[in-house]
């Protein structure tokens, strides 16, 4: 099985439509390092490759709930494949920029993705659709146990798991949920949410787009503190805050529905543009797809066949290129995006996720 085949598989978190219309996905990440050698940034090229070999062997031998991992070295990948992995959230942009001795181990449905020799020796990630924090943690915890049988992890009693960046020391765990919050943005309440979260040691940020702009009204909430809080406490905190933000978003949606006719008009306009436009810049596409989704959630628009998460990914350059199989200029990308969206919103099957 080569890289292209693994990549062509459908990612669980992108294809399964969750019950929760606001929370798109849940991620749990654990950072681990081998005890007997420097972190990747301080390793020689030879030691980097040696470390890769040892970890890859442990990963491919580990089995959690039948989720066998397949290790893919970065050096075997084309730039397009790397970018596609970044956009699917299976590797980080930082890993994609690094050279030999690095790679990622993926389970068949991509719910498990383990980066090797990024900032830490091991970055273990579980990504699931919907708000499923406990389940995501259990999968991560199981694989961590399986790896621990074969590898010695750097750990100190007082500091917990040791990591290259001191912000991850302790549990080494980062938990996040990805949420679609159009009504909170449209009713200008996001700043309040932001302010309320920072004293809790939690962060919220736009997932796509540059600077303070959050394309598609997609936000990610994650924990900042990893030392002094147990995994369980962190999971419960994020779960509670995610639930509360869902309530706020739902409340804002109800308020908008009270002003019914403008919302109905807005979402139908979005659908109309998506079905007819010939040139579609990325930022506009994210806005319209977000409004369209709000229209589906509120019952004004008929649902689309593709999941919202997958639709968003296909708007990004690599998603479009990977589907087309060729490099495209910006103008061509805008046309390809418009063509893709016409297909997706007119209900014609596009054959891929």
């Amino acid at each position: 099985m080569n890289v292209a085949e693994v990549l062509a598989r459908r990612s669980h978190w992108l294809t399964e439509q969750g019950r929760n219309v606001i929370v798109l996905s849940t991620r749990v990440r654990l950072a681990r390092n081998l005890a007997d050698r420097p972190f990747p940034s301080a390793l020689s090229p030879e030691m980097t490759e040696q470390t890769e070999k040892e970890i890859a062997a442990a990963l491919e031998a580990a089995e959690t709930e039948g989720q066998r991992l397949r290790y893919l070295p970065l050096k075997d990948m084309s730039d397009m494949e790397k970018t596609a992995l970044v956009e699917k959230h299976l590797i980080s942009p930082a890993l994609a920029a690094l050279g030999a001795g690095r790679g990622v181990a993926l389970s068949p449905d991509h719910r498990l993705a383990v980066m090797v020799n990024e900032e830490d020796h091991i970055r273990l990630q579980v990504i699931l659709p919907d708000s499923r924090l406990q389940e995501a943690f259990q999968v991560a915890d199981q694989l961590d146990d399986a790896l621990e049988d074969k590898l010695d992890f750097a750990f100190r009693e007082r500091c917990g798991y040791l990591t290259a960046c001191p912000t991850n020391v302790g549990t080494g765990m980062r938990v996040s949920t990805m949420m679609h919050l159009p009504a909170l943005v449209m009713t200008k309440q996001m700043q309040q949410v932001l302010n309320a979260l920072s004293p809790l040691g939690l962060a919220i940020r736009g997932l796509y787009g540059e600077g303070s702009k959050a394309w598609g009204n997609i936000f990610q909430i994650s924990n900042q503190v990893t030392l002094g809080k147990s995994e369980e406490d962190t999971l419960v905190n994020i779960e509670a805050v995610t639930e509360q933000i869902c309530e706020l978003e739902n409340h804002a949606r109800q308020m908008m529905l009270a002003g019914h006719s403008t919302l109905e008009d807005k979402v139908w306009r979005a659908r109309g543009l998506l079905q007819n436009a010939r040139i579609m810049p990325v930022e506009e596409a994210f806005r319209l797809v977000s409004e369209d989704r709000l229209g589906v959630d509120t019952g004004f628009l008929p649902p689309l066949r593709e999941s919202f998460a997958s639709l968003l990914l296909n708007l990004l350059p690599a998603g479009l290129r990977y589907r087309g199989g060729t490099e495209l200029t910006d103008e061509q990308l805008n046309e390809a995006r418009a063509a893709y969206l016409r297909q997706a919103t007119l209900g014609i099957s596009t054959g891929t996720e």
Partner: protein, 170 residues
């Protein structure tokens, strides 16, 4: 084969091709080994994470300075180098530069000790200590509530745990 010059310094021969991805846009550069190394360490997220971390490392009141010549025996880094990179070189740095790192961890996380998962291997003693700590807290609470019968059960479990703890170090 044509010799390709590094796109950054325009002097040395390019040895690696670096792909930088920002917001899904991939740009490629041919770089020499020297520049590629800098590129990786510094410019992956230009002016972001690394800079904040430097600020954390250099906060006023942080211990250190006098120890600036000390090197970590495993990775060979000095604390000054760690400060500059905003990243620790290896797990032993946490021990080598303990006062500075403790200060930093307090700043970042609120100054507490690790609570949570402990590796099974090599962690047996730590697990036991954590359990004992939890039991002691529970015992105090029971005594406060004057639930002496339950407290007696806990005390026996604590004694049993203490008996196992023979001569092992952390």
């Amino acid at each position: 084969m044509n010799q390709l010059l590094c796109q950054n310094c325009q002097q040395r021969e390019a040895a690696v091709r670096v792909t930088k991805i920002e917001n899904g846009q991939a740009t490629q550069m041919n770089l020499c080994k020297e520049c590629a190394r800098q590129y990786h360490n510094v410019k992956v997220f230009p002016g972001m994470v690394s800079d904040f971390m430097q600020a954390m490392f250099t906060l006023k009141g942080a211990p250190g300075g006098q120890q600036s010549a000390a090197r970590c025996p495993v990775c060979g880094l000095t604390f000054a180098q760690i400060q500059k990179a905003g990243r620790v070189g290896c797990s032993h740095c946490y021990e080598t530069f303990e006062p500075q790192m403790d200060f930093l961890l307090r700043r970042l996380h609120g100054g507490s000790r690790h609570v949570g998962k402990v590796p099974r291997r090599g962690g047996g003693n730590i697990r036991r200590q954590n359990e004992m700590r939890a039991l002691k807290a529970e015992l105090q609470e029971l005594v406060r509530r004057e639930a002496f019968e339950e407290a007696a059960v806990l005390r026996d479990r604590l004694r049993a745990l203490e008996a196992v703890k023979g001569g092992e170090n952390e």
